[in-house]
């Protein structure tokens, strides 16, 4: 009985030792990032591939763009991540210059639910009017004029939007503000806005779920969701053959990597990773329904990367 007890306490001590050591078991080269949830599937894939290739481990926490900005500003992570358009005001309280690198782009689609209708064309002005609550029925003459060959039912339009603050909303409202003066002056663009009409649903899955349920509804979700759920989406006028509602997702980091007792080796590890993500890593975008960076975007990002410093030393 006594031996048994001693054995038990030994096992317990062993378990405790392992459990206590776990948070500290990360090696010096392990990198920590936090931020946007939109690129999370892509980053997971990239980091797993990078780990298989180099053995480096990257821990990415998908906690939202806002939290990503806060954490890089507070220097608690090696890199932050965000969607939408980085603004200088986002980094006001940062103790140093923060630079941002584009990593991938993603389309925001406009799914709709009209019984018997698979395709519909909407001009950008009309889309804004629908989301402003000015066009309220699918039988409206304005919609019929743009879709002469479609038999449109006389259904009230139910707008479905995101209820949670999100980069997807930022991309979509930025687009509406760019095509509609009325939208720009009455609603504006951002991660959360004051919606003139509609049902709010949480997450991309919430919006696509509501659109699938409500006849006469229209919403906006990340492209991947409309593909996976096989939803009908509105055709919007393209700009030079490019789908117009697109957003970029960014990695944020300090230009001077010498902070918080970080080693130069760690800074170099980070720059190596980012260079790989901009080059080899891009091949994982399209299978996951993201878009690759254009050649110009990639060149500009690599220039930014070359500007990184460690104190007075260059990292490249």
């Amino acid at each position: 009985m006594k031996v048994n007890k001693r054995a038990k306490s030994r096992v317990l001590a062993g378990v405790l030792a392992v459990a206590l050591a776990m948070p500290f078991s990360a090696t010096a080269e392990d990198l920590i990032g936090a931020g946007a949830s939109f690129p999370y599937p892509l980053y997971s894939k990239m980091f797993a591939e990078y780990n298989a290739k180099t053995g480096s481990r990257i821990n990415y926490q998908s906690v939202g763009s806002g939290a990503g900005i806060n954490q890089i500003v507070a220097k608690t992570v090696d890199f932050g991540a965000m969607d939408g358009t980085p603004k200088d005001s986002d980094f006001e309280s940062a103790a140093g210059k923060i630079v941002y690198l584009p990593m991938a782009k993603g389309d925001v689609s406009v799914p709709f639910n009209l019984p018997g209708v698979k395709e519909i064309k909407l001009s950008s002005e009309l889309l804004a009017e629908i989301f402003l609550g000015k066009v309220t029925n699918w039988g409206d003459k304005k919609i019929a004029d743009q879709n002469p060959n479609v038999k449109l039912p006389k259904l009230p339009i139910t707008v479905v939007h995101r209820s949670d603050g999100s980069g997807t909303t930022d991309i979509f409202t930025t687009y509406l503000a760019s095509v509609s003066g009325a939208w720009k002056s009455t609603v504006g663009a951002g991660k959360a806005v004051k919606w003139p009409v509609g049902i709010g649903a949480k997450g991309n899955e919430g919006v696509s779920g509501q659109v699938l349920q409500i006849p006469g509804s229209i919403g906006y979700v990340e492209y991947a969701y409309t593909v996976q759920q096989k939803m009908a989406t509105a055709t919007l006028p393209s700009a030079n053959g490019v789908y117009p509602i697109t957003g970029t997702t960014w990695i944020l980091l300090y230009q001077d990597q010498n902070y918080g007792g970080r080693t130069k080796a760690k800074a170099q590890e980070l720059t190596k990773l980012l260079k790989w993500m901009l080059n080899d890593g891009q091949q994982f975008s399209e299978p996951l329904y993201y878009k690759k960076l254009s050649a110009e975007e990639k060149t500009a990002a690599e220039e930014t990367l070359k500007g990184l410093k460690f104190g007075n030393e260059n990292l490249f």
Binding site: V63, G64, S65, G66, A67, I69, N70, D90, P156, T158, S163, D164, G165, S166, V187, G188, A189, G190, K191, A192, V193, K194, W195, G198, I199, G200, A201, K202, G206, G209, Q210, Q213, I214
Partner: protein, 298 residues
Amino acid sequence: MKIYSKISSKFLSGGWFISLIRVSAVAIILLMLAIAVMLTLGALPAIKHFGFGFLVGGDWNPIENNYGALPFLVGTLITSFLALVISIPFSIAIAIILGEFNPTGKVSALFTSLVELLAGIPSVIFGFFALFYLVPLVRFFQIKFNIIPYGVGIFTSSLILAIMIIPFSASLGRQIIKMVPSGLKEAAYALGATRFEVLKDVVFPVARSGILAGFILALGRALGETMAVTMVIGNNNALPHSIFDLGNTISSIIANEFAEAGNALHFSSLTYLGLALFVGTAAINLAGKYAIKKMAKM
């Protein structure tokens, strides 16, 4: 050996146990205070900026950085009280059947544990149930009665909240009704009272304050419920005009916007809402306690 017995007697006297429970009790009070202080500090920028006008402001606009709590206060109160009203007949009926008419036996035990099981189901599951079954049902009736067929909205939220809070009031009511001294009831029966008369004139007056306590517990649960409500209330930040309108509650707007509230005033306004909910829930609980005391004396 002597030392051992000394320690043992000290251990057995239980002084350490008294200290332990004292520390635990004080810790709970400190925790409450810490939450209140944390919420107040977090809300301070918004309190300074908007004052108490925040509570009656009807506009919530993160782009223009203007925040008012009225739509959410109204949403919270309507959903919670409507849920309470819907739940009352059901929970009283359950409490009477399981507490007075069928207090023992296998069927009674089965129903009692089923009711209690209902209280243990995670709220996200209730949310899914509401989304997939209640929403289409409500939409069906909305189409029939020519109301805009959102399906989601304040009424649907109240329905799911009512289902969620029934076990709280029903199970407390059942226990209280069971505790009514049988001597009182037997005396009434001996005087020729019917079963209904015993229930109306003996059981209810005795159990009244306990049943009320169950309703207050249930109301508290409804006021703070977040997940299920967020899933079916429609998350519209305008002041609701009818019970079939879309809306938002304090907890659902916090759940929606807290993670991405980048702007300091936005963040602080959400904390201010949290503080309002904290104070409001405490006030309703205190008022309830007072009502229970008054009733118990009657």
